[in-house]
Symmetry: C4
Subunit: 291 residues, 4 copies
């Protein structure tokens, strides 16, 4: 939605706040972002440790407190993010807005559904945003190159996945009919699960064919899976090989550290004055703010 | 077989029926096809659910009824497909004719061999045809590109598979001699099955070498398998890489939604007046029929 | 070794025999070769069936007799192969000479070491020669293309394999020290076996890490293995991609059905008059013999 | 650190020693290096055999003695390496200096921590240096080509690995919440371990999903892993394909057997007079020393 009305307060403490929280080019902004990275990593670690029974037994209380501290911290941060812009809803609905919300909800939900609180470590996804802070523009470039290759071959991959799905449904059914419940193929869904386990060459071995016919079919499945793994590889490789020839602009000129206050997209060039996505004006940190 | 005598009635209700059932360009045709997709998906779902004991116990009767409804529905559809053309046998012998038959037979067979009724969900194969309905011409293009790559490298892949087969027979025999029945290698076929499980890096673990010599040979097998998986990948990748250079005509100009009434092949161009496979005339839906 | 003195009798029944057994261009030669293929397949099938206890119990005697029939048959064939040339030792020492011997020895050895008789189905290797009979010159071409790609990248693959070996030795040792015998890592060789099972993503699961540290290291091993599988693939793919550009001569002009009587190499052109390997003269079946 | 002051004694027995130990171009140098290779292989074999209980029981004493002999031998060698240069610390801190130390320490540590003595076979890493002795310059070339490909794609691979790590953390957490401790997913770390086992298609089967929901998620994980294995492969393949076009200088002109006495780097050209890394002068074995 091309729009010119700006989202950010033009003056005052809210503008300061905005620059600190959303921009990464000022000293304060960098400090804030680095603090955030550390907080996220520590909070994820807390959740993970909490799930280990022995540790839970020994340090349960302390971990729970830590957990709450981080959640409150992130809640405050989330609130600040909303306060310092004019149209909070737009941020809430943006990609990172959703992730930031997901980072704080689980623990509150945990008050009602205990299990769910472990989902809190989904906040690790917030690290995705941190690429830009570490000024890893080249990495952003490479990443976008991989994304491009993926997108360019998404149709081929869809065709491939559809084929795989049809295949596993049929193979699963056949195995269910051949081996039957007495050999662990208790139902068609379970047999389909087995077919996927086998076709992808994972091979847990929790369910295995016992009858000669079943083993023969399984052999066919395995050799098929062994062979068709070549297809996605071939697709992606061909794409990357082609793409890597042309120097990717992104890897060079993009700062990846500037954020559009209108649609919250990133990857704007150093010298960009307007958002390439929504046409909104991009703020420049005023000299005074840059150290 | 080049032939000019047309299969479809030139006038009357049978022609109307033909347009609806076989063509996808008229409103009625589209409605019919979409209804069919839904019916197929639901019927497959029914069969799958039926195979789950708990659900079977609770809803067995209702599912069985549903099952029969779908089968009768598909039987009627199959009959209509035969009625509205002059040379039914040609359709029966065509690729989709066989699949459509396979979609209805299992349940009838189920009256005699209970197990076989689960094969009913092979009717999921009918979805293959549905690509064209959803006007997924680009996907058809990509698919045909993959198919081309596969065909172009079929010889190399054959050579590769023959090598693999010789390999697993010999490796299986060696393991049978080394480990013997007391370690689970009860016979050469079973040992060959193990060799395939190992060479394809699936590794169920239902049979594993116990003797040092057996484990040494197994290590060789695994590293071999790990190494030669490079071969099919290399073959297909090289093909796709070469192919993807040239823009594939199919992806562009083919409608993929028109059907030859003489040999029931698809993928005819929008402006094609005759079938490129059998030379038979292609019907154009009369203006009145198009909405 | 360049040599001009011919190995084959110039006249008489031995020459006839030579043409029948070694050449594939005369009617008798083709019949002989096809009979041989069938005999080989059947004999391999016999050995395989013999290893299945149930079948062994029911048909043991008959299979043993069949087994002996085939062995005697192949022994006679082997003798004939020796009789109808002047320098038998040269054939004995040639690649196929060794395989042909391996095809008959096991059963005789079986008189002393019962187990070894199952090795008889190594005679399946004789099928390698049969490519030329079925006039699969194109396949021979493709095969030689793959072989070329393999040879061209043998050094890279060696470097890769050496790295893998160093890796598994070290990883195996670490796991042995970390997990120890009580968790199934009874010795360093076994731990190395485990490392190979894991690095190649086979993952039998007969030995698995129990301690957190062990599982952490295992995770590293798995991601490593998952990553470095890219290397051999990349190597071979690059080779094939380069090679497949140039039309391979072999696929076209080579007959693949002519045999040098001096060094027993194959793949001589239709119009070749001398062996390209040893310079010996190539025999042409006299018109009278060709039907 | 560019520096001109040489590390090696210009005359006397220490110079002789230096040439023998560090250079591979004199007869004595070659003999020394080959002796070293054999010693390393034997010592590694000793350690491995020692870990096998049965052998340990029968030959424990002898192996322990052998073990000590090798360790003392390598200790002496290490000492000599230090004696015959002026700035020993520089060697100690160099890559191979560290490895050489690691090769002797474990057994001494073993006096205090028995287990650790098995780490002695990490000395197998010393073989890395042996490439140059066997004058395997072409292999060194290939190896450096692979290294180049790896380095060129390190960023893409980092991005890929980061994605994988985020993925397994989230998938592990989900499985922990879905399946819970009663099905073997005792904690989030364990669940992450499971996610890695599954995503890399290793599939030990020591932990497997039991609930339908868990199996459904597992299926997604497996197909994801099956699909994204294409990415690293694609990356490396594209790199190798590009690189293998240009003839790599290394494979040709580099001797790989000359060593800089200042920074202990290798791979200097035959005719190089100064180290390309630190600018230090490279010693030429005096004619008298070359046989």
């Amino acid at each position: 939605m091309p729009t010119q009305e700006t989202l950010i307060p033009l003056t005052g403490w809210r503008r300061k706040l905005y620059i600190i929280i959303y921009e990464a080019d000022t000293r304060l902004g960098r400090i804030f972002d680095l603090a955030l990275i550390i907080a996220i990593l520590l909070s994820v670690l807390t959740v993970i440790l909490e799930s280990v029974q022995s540790i839970q037994a020994a340090w349960g209380a302390q971990l729970k407190i830590l957990d709450w501290c981080f959640t409150i911290l992130f809640t405050i941060e989330y609130a600040l993010r909303l306060i310092c812009i004019h149209k909070p809803m737009r941020y809430v609905k943006s990609f990172f807005g959703v992730i930031d919300l997901m980072a704080v909800l689980p623990l509150y939900l945990g008050l009602f559904i205990p299990e769910s609180r472990f989902l809190a470590d989904i906040r690790i996804l917030r690290l995705l945003r941190m690429f830009r802070i570490l000024k890893l523009t080249r990495y952003i470039g490479e990443a976008s190159e991989l994304k491009r290759a993926m997108l360019a071959s998404r149709r081929k991959i869809t065709v491939f996945l559809v084929t795989v799905v049809l295949l596993v449904v049929i193979l699963g059914t056949l195995m269910f009919v051949i081996e039957g419940p007495e050999h662990g193929y208790t139902s068609i869904p379970v047999s389909i699960y087995w077919a996927i386990v086998t076709l992808t060459t994972v091979g847990f071995g929790d369910i295995t064919p016992k009858t000669p016919l079943g083993q023969a079919l399984a052999s066919v499945v395995m050799i098929t899976g062994y062979g068709i793994i070549a297809v996605p590889t071939g697709i992606v490789t061909a794409e990357i090989a082609r793409g890597s020839g042309a120097k990717s602009k992104t890897a060079e000129a993009v700062s990846g550290t500037r954020l559009c206050p209108h649609c919250f997209t990133e990857g704007h060039d150093w010298d960009a004055r307007f958002c390439k996505h929504c046409g909104g004006q991009l703020p420049r940190p005023s000299k005074g703010e840059v150290s």
